[in-house]
């Protein structure tokens, strides 16, 4: 298994280094985003009540939101993106005739992007702390680990649901739209959910990103103890319990349907 995953990593690294300016442009995009939020944050006075639970500093709030929502987006869409890309490039069939199980092909194909996005998120936070004054609190490692683990499982499950949809219907992935676009508005990425009017605030409680960002910010920025993030951990655990079996069943059904219809490698 590790040899197979290593082969996928080597393949994607070898391809990535042939695109010489990709990393440079991605780094430039990150710096521009940080600079933008640095100046926007000057409009928000420190100690705003809605930022209180997250350390009180808008720049830190927004940077953690943007950095982690990018990471979660990759977990959510990485798997379906690799299926779509292999359908379009024509490599899917060649992968599927190998003895490697389809879930391993799927995970292996997206592993490099996922690891690279984790590195990018860490770099984002490190650059923000070193040059723009991102203020970490007393970081609760257990809280970060628990929220992080449950969040990864949750968003990978959504990723498997998306990949199942793409295997059968090829485009128009509704999970990406619902959880990607709506999460940007209602999930508390760049402003606290408490600012939303009550009639719509309930919708944010249905989105896993709300709990993921809430737990991460409290653990990273607000020096909150583990007990303070327990509600977020409980909510994410409920999402995991529902989404893991659902996504695995959907994936099995999707592979079977695509093989029955003869459309496994169609695009």
């Amino acid at each position: 298994m590790s040899g197979v995953l290593g082969a996928f990593l080597r393949r994607d690294f070898r391809e990535a280094v042939t695109y010489k300016f990709s990393f440079v442009s991605s780094l430039a995009g990150m710096l521009l985003s940080l600079a933008t939020f640095y100046f926007v944050a000057k409009l928000v006075p420190p100690g705003s009540p809605s930022l209180g639970p997250f350390g009180g500093d808008y720049f830190s709030f927004a940077v953690v939101g943007v950095a982690f929502s990018g990471l979660l987006g990759m977990f959510q869409e990485g798997l379906s993106a690799v299926v779509r890309s292999a359908q379009l490039s024509g490599t899917l069939e060649a992968l599927l005739v190998t003895p490697v199980p389809i879930p391993v092909i799927l995970f292996g194909s997206s592993l490099y992007s996922l690891l690279f996005q984790i590195f990018r998120t860490a770099l984002h936070l490190a650059v923000a702390a070193a040059f723009f004054g991102l203020a970490f609190g007393r970081v609760d490692v257990a809280g970060v680990a628990a929220v992080g683990l449950l969040t990864v499982v949750c968003f990978l499950s959504v990723g498997v649901l998306s990949a199942s949809f793409i295997l059968v219907y090829k485009t128009g992935n509704p999970f990406s739209w619902i959880l990607g676009t709506v999460s940007g508005l209602l999930g508390g990425v760049v402003f606290p959910v408490s600012l939303l009017p009550p009639w719509i605030r309930w919708a944010s409680s249905l989105l896993p990103v709300t709990y993921a960002l809430d737990g991460m910010r409290k653990s990273l920025l607000a020096s909150a103890p583990f007990s303070a993030v327990l509600p977020d951990i409980a909510a994410l655990a409920v999402f995991d319990v529902l989404l893991v079996p659902l996504s695995l069943a959907a994936f099995r059904l999707a592979v079977r349907k695509a093989k029955k219809d003869g459309t496994l490698s169609h695009y």
Partner: protein, 266 residues
């Protein structure tokens, strides 16, 4: 006692759903129209034989190969590769076949030929010094040792086809499935590919080759056995020595008669 067949297909049926537009879906939501690709196909290929499958476009050649490769599930009947049922034991059945069925888009164009084989080789468990030796051997066998470290995007169509055959040999499976391997090749490259399949893979290495082609001359020259498929069934089959005994023209006449009868033409 006769040897067990390398490939055994009995009563194989495959129907694909017909694509319908929104209007049709709204007017007849429960209508499930299908088109029949394989209609109770029977086939047996002995070990070490080169079996050429001829037939017009849409006859079912590629569907049969994709079922044997595990990419498509049959609706009825059974297909065995190396004695394993492709629907019931997909893992072992897949290990029994090597496939050269994808077109040139099935490679990573920004990687070299060697890097492509290293990647696919790792998926077949070829790693470390033994894996590298095997890949060197396959590159040499395919005549690509000098071009091994060039990017795939710089390969000619003939070189891409040879790399595709080299990839099909990574697992050293006993059965090779090849779908129109000489399509788009110039005459010299096509001859090299035919010699490689017939003399090297089948002749020296004892592989069973199921070879789909439109080229009657290719079948007459290379096959041990020939079958003509039309409308999802085998319409004519037998040893090449007998079907092509009267030369290519005799094979052409037999082919046209078999296909014409299947299509209801006089």
């Amino acid at each position: 006692m006769s040897q067990a067949p390398a490939v055994l297909v009995q009563g194989l049926v495959k129907r694909y759903p017909v694509f319908r537009g929104f209007r049709e879906l709204i007017r007849h939501p429960f209508d499930r129209r299908t088109v029949t690709a394989l209609d109770g196909l029977d086939l047996e290929i002995g070990p070490g034989r080169v079996f050429c499958l001829l037939g017009p476009n849409g006859a079912g050649k590629t569907t049969l190969i994709k079922i044997l490769a595990g990419l498509v599930l049959p609706d009825g009947g059974r297909a065995l590769a190396g004695g394993r049922d492709v629907a019931r034991e997909p893992g072992p059945a897949r290990s029994a076949v090597g496939c050269a069925i994808g077109d040139e888009r099935s490679f990573y164009w920004r990687l070299t030929g060697r890097q492509n084989l290293e990647f696919f080789g790792a998926l077949y468990g070829l790693r470390g010094p033994a894996g590298r030796r095997r890949i060197d051997e396959l590159l040499r066998l395919a005549g690509l040792d000098e071009a091994a470290d060039l990017r795939f995007s710089g390969y000619s169509t003939g070189m891409r086809q040879m790399l595709s055959l080299a990839r099909a040999l990574l697992a050293d499976a006993a059965i090779l499935l090849v779908d129109e391997p000489t399509r788009s090749l110039d005459p010299q490259a096509a001859d090299r590919t035919r010699e490689f399949l017939r003399d090297e893979l089948a002749g020296r290495r004892g592989k069973t080759v199921l070879w789909a082609t439109h080229d009657l001359g290719e079948a007459a020259d290379c096959a041990d056995d020939i079958a003509v498929i039309s409308r999802g069934r085998i319409r004519l089959g037998g040893p090449a020595a007998s079907l092509a005994a009267g030369g290519r023209e005799a094979l052409r006449r037999a082919y046209e008669k078999a296909v014409g009868e299947a299509e209801g033409r006089p």
